[in-house]
Symmetry: C2
Subunit: 225 residues, 2 copies
């Protein structure tokens, strides 16, 4: 197997992250790449969600993944083994990524021809939401076992989420998780959030999510699908 | 129901948190209170774990809870409704608590006669591990649905954990979670970690955890149980 490329991210020296993020967003749009910032708590199934998209994106789009982690390289290994261009970004101990760190990752990923790049952010519902990464959209995964009250407890994360993916719906019978409640709470934070229900494990609902993401990537980059 | 006391924590002005934490630890020992810093990712079941301890602690120990959260007060409400002295600590947007913030919480809790206080830290596997709160021990909850690889991905949290509580073991049949693997990974980070398996929901394993915590509180405060 191909070796995992590991990038030790340098702390940003730029003072205005919002401006830097806006610049990065414009650059990516100009080169025709849609960047999605994927956020979640630990163990929500971010990587498994990306894996579940593979068959739906095949022959339709060129895409790659930046896996951010404190220290390990398991996620980039997993994506590479599945045939998806990936790099592992190490933050050292840092709890989030900013636009400059995202830019370092995109440079390491290399391929200018990618239509869509996912940044799998640090598994953390607090800090990543505070920093604009330069992504076109923010997508948050919430898994059923975590509970339907998370938008109440992590307000900023859910304010910043354009897309909310409720994962592990195959376990709905095992947990006390109310769809009406989670939707109410999520829309309190962002009335315009798009909500998808999936089981990345058994594939339920993934086709709808994939179709939406393909359409979104097309509209961001101006390429029709 | 009693109103929830909500404390908006002030950011610490002290520069040496380690020294402040050591001082707080000594003060608590002197007054005969064992402080446990309870950490976990979002939705692991920290509050439910505390609720599950109630029948086991009844008439054996005087205890209270500080519930830290970005913004909400649902956890302190839950504990108060169950008859346990509780305060809600709000960090604003901050992703962790330090010793000075913990001290503000203990002051708000008020009762000097408590044998045991739990600090339910922010649901976050990154930042809380970086700050000594002054607790006698760190206890981390990992729930089965999050996966057995979390000690690989969040090294510092598991280095700092004296007690690891694996929660939601009633869902083991539904998830690919290997007990040998999680124990191997956790001991890589801290060879001396004490590991307990519980279902806070159905009570399985909670008696053993409660007995250990009672003994621990006794040994920290010098009071025999």
């Amino acid at each position: 197997m191909e070796n995992v490329k590991i990038i030790a991210l340098k702390e940003s020296i730029l003072e205005d992250n919002d401006l830097d993020a806006q610049n990065l967003r414009e650059e990516l749009r100009a080169r025709g790449t849609c960047l999605i910032n994927l956020m979640a708590g630990p163990g929500s199934g971010k990587t498994t969600t990306l894996l579940s998209l593979i068959p739906h994106f095949r022959d339709k789009i060129r895409w790659g993944v930046m896996e951010a982690d404190i220290d390990s390289d398991v996620d980039a290994k997993t994506m590479l083994a599945a045939g998806i261009p990936s790099v592992q970004l190490h933050t050292g101990g840092m709890c989030h990524l900013d636009a400059d760190m995202t830019r370092q990752g995109i440079r390491a990923l290399g391929d200018e021809d990618l239509d869509l790049i996912f940044l799998e952010n640090i598994g953390n519902l607090v800090c990543p939401a505070e920093f604009d990464t330069g992504a076109a959209v923010n997508m948050t995964v919430l898994s059923v076992p975590e509970g339907d009250d998370k938008p109440v407890k992590y307000p900023l994360m859910y304010e910043k989420s354009d897309i909310l993916v409720i994962n592990k719906i195959d376990t709905l019978p095992v947990f006390d998780f109310d769809r009406d409640r989670v939707e109410k709470y999520a829309r309190m934070r962002n009335p315009d959030v798009r909500i998808f229900y999936i089981s990345a494990k058994n594939g339920e609902g993934v086709a709808e999510l994939a179709a939406y993401l393909l359409q979104l990537a097309g509209s961001v980059t101006g390429k029709s699908r």
